[in-house]
């Protein structure tokens, strides 16, 4: 019967502690808004941070407490935005789905011979540390798939040595963008259908010797674009999506085919329609543009000579 007394003693101590805790929990009660938990349940719990908050729970709290917009969740898209709006009792906001784009098109057919053979740890980060990787281009896709390991949607694969994103699977969360040591992956609105798929900031000649598909910074697209949306900076063309109208003239005009239409695989509405329209339009203005561009180029060359 020796065990009864200790058991009773400990039960008594435990009971006392329990009573004390109950009293304390009443005294120190914190009222939390139950909508926070509800919103948090609706969110996809990927914790990717692409909404700009540190995780799904933090975003849920921001929605309820600070009235942050309900449509910031990229992996969730319009479906989650609708559910969140339902919980919050507001009308659902329009969402533009986001999608990731790999800004490199230097596959093994386009790229020059490797500088050396890398047989270290098979990861982009390791390869990058070792003389910027084996590839002739220091800016391009390293091809070891660090992004694939991050992707929660199984949307990335390495095709001919360059990461390719399956647009039907991509949720636009941007985890892959964080994983890429060359910062090749960007996440932008799915409505942006044209992009310069090169990230090389080398001068044109060096880019060209390293890779046939690279942007050589010739500024032809700058002149071709009717909306002034393209600028070449650091030997690299970049598109300002606030001005771009997806006309595709730059795609046709690019001498190295560095500018691509990204919507080749899957588009939400009218998958085939924009493509022929672009190619049909493109040849017509091409000669005009050339005629315009040529004198300008000559004039520039002259002014440089006189200097």
């Amino acid at each position: 019967m020796n065990f009864i007394i200790p058991a009773l003693v400990f039960a008594a101590i435990g009971l006392l502690a329990g009573v004390l805790l109950t009293v304390c929990s009443k005294v120190f009660e914190v009222k939390t808004d139950e909508r926070i938990d509800k919103v948090n349940e609706v969110l996809p719990q990927v914790n990717c941070g692409s909404c700009g908050f540190s995780g799904c729970a933090a975003y849920a709290e921001a929605i309820v407490k600070n009235g942050v917009a309900t449509n910031l969740c990229n992996p969730g898209g319009s479906e989650v935005a609708k559910k969140v709006a339902e919980v919050m009792g507001v009308t659902a906001m329009e969402t533009v789905p986001k999608i990731a784009v790999v800004r490199c098109s230097g596959d093994c057919n386009a790229r020059s011979e490797n500088k050396f053979e890398f047989d270290g740890v098979q990861s982009c980060k390791a390869a990058k540390r070792f003389y910027n990787g084996q590839s002739a281009c220091a800016y391009g896709c390293l091809g070891y798939g660090d992004c694939i390991r991050e992707c929660t949607h199984d949307a990335i694969s390495i095709v001919d040595g360059v990461a390719k994103i399956d647009r039907s699977k991509c949720g636009g969360c941007g985890l892959c963008a964080k994983a890429c040591p060359n910062q090749l992956i960007v996440v932008h609105d799915i409505t942006n259908r044209v992009d310069v798929l090169c990230s090389s900031q080398d001068i044109g000649k060096n880019t060209r010797t390293a890779c046939k598909n690279g942007c050589i910074g010739c500024k032809k697209c700058e002149k071709t674009c009717p909306f002034g949306a393209i600028t070449v900076e650091n030997n690299l063309a970049r598109i300002d999506y606030s001005k771009c109208k997806n006309c595709g003239k730059c795609v046709a005009g690019c001498p190295t085919h560095a500018i691509h239409r990204c919507d080749g695989i899957v588009m939400v509405e009218k998958p085939a329609a924009p493509k022929p329209a672009a190619t049909a339009e493109a040849p017509a203005p091409k000669p005009e543009v050339k005629a315009e561009a040529a004198p300008e180029a000559k004039a520039e060359a002259k002014t440089e000579e006189t200097k």
Binding site: I5, P6, V9, F10, I13, G14, A17, L20, L21, C24, S25, F28, E29, V30
Partner: protein, 192 residues
């Protein structure tokens, strides 16, 4: 009075729980990233230690010894410590939510922080009376805070320094901790 001061200072410096006795290393490494959270954690641990010492002494002398249950002191003490940790947690959640978030998982982990249990058991082993126990606990808590605060400063410098890649992060932190620990050896033998 003099003996209490000796107990306080020796618990703080000579027998510093983190740097001389190597107890509570988990919280020491986990929360010393920032000065704010280090101060908060130090205060929380000091409070829990003092309360635990205050509560465990009567439990041991008035309940466990008369019933001959000294062998169950570990269980009883952990029960008491867990109680106070819960109270501190509720208090912080209500009064200082940012600190509550900054401490995160380390706050409930005070329950299993061996430094707290260590203080209560050392009080018994050294056969301190109630006053001495509480002073010893407060000294240990202050020593823990001191170690945390000193180390948070060291750690900010270490993180800012240009360390070789293989030492970055945890290795550099552990080496820095060992050097800080060595510096506390300077106090050894001061009050004995």
């Amino acid at each position: 009075m003099r003996s209490l001061l000796v107990i306080l200072l020796s618990a703080m410096l000579v027998d510093n729980f983190v740097l001389s006795k190597f107890m509570g290393i988990c919280a020491f490494l986990g929360v010393s990233k920032k000065l704010d959270s280090a101060v908060g954690m130090g205060a929380a641990v000091t409070f829990v230690m003092a309360c635990a010492a205050l509560a465990t002494y009567p439990i041991y002398t008035l309940i466990l010894i008369p019933l001959g249950l000294e062998y169950l002191k570990t269980v009883a003490f952990i029960l008491v410590i867990a109680l106070f940790v819960q109270i501190v947690e509720m208090f912080l959640k209500k009064a200082v939510p940012p600190l509550y978030k900054a401490l995160g998982v380390y706050l409930p982990l005070i329950t299993t922080n061996c430094a707290v249990l260590g203080v209560t058991i050392l009080n018994i082993d050294n056969s301190y009376n109630l006053g001495q126990s509480v002073v010893n606990a407060v000294g240990a808590g202050l020593g823990f805070s001191l170690a945390l605060i000193i180390f948070s400063g060291v750690r900010q410098r270490v993180n800012a320094a240009d360390t070789p890649a293989m030492f970055k992060g945890v290795p550099a932190t552990l080496i820095a901790a060992s050097i800080v620990s060595v510096s506390f050896m300077g106090f050894s033998g001061m009050f004995s």
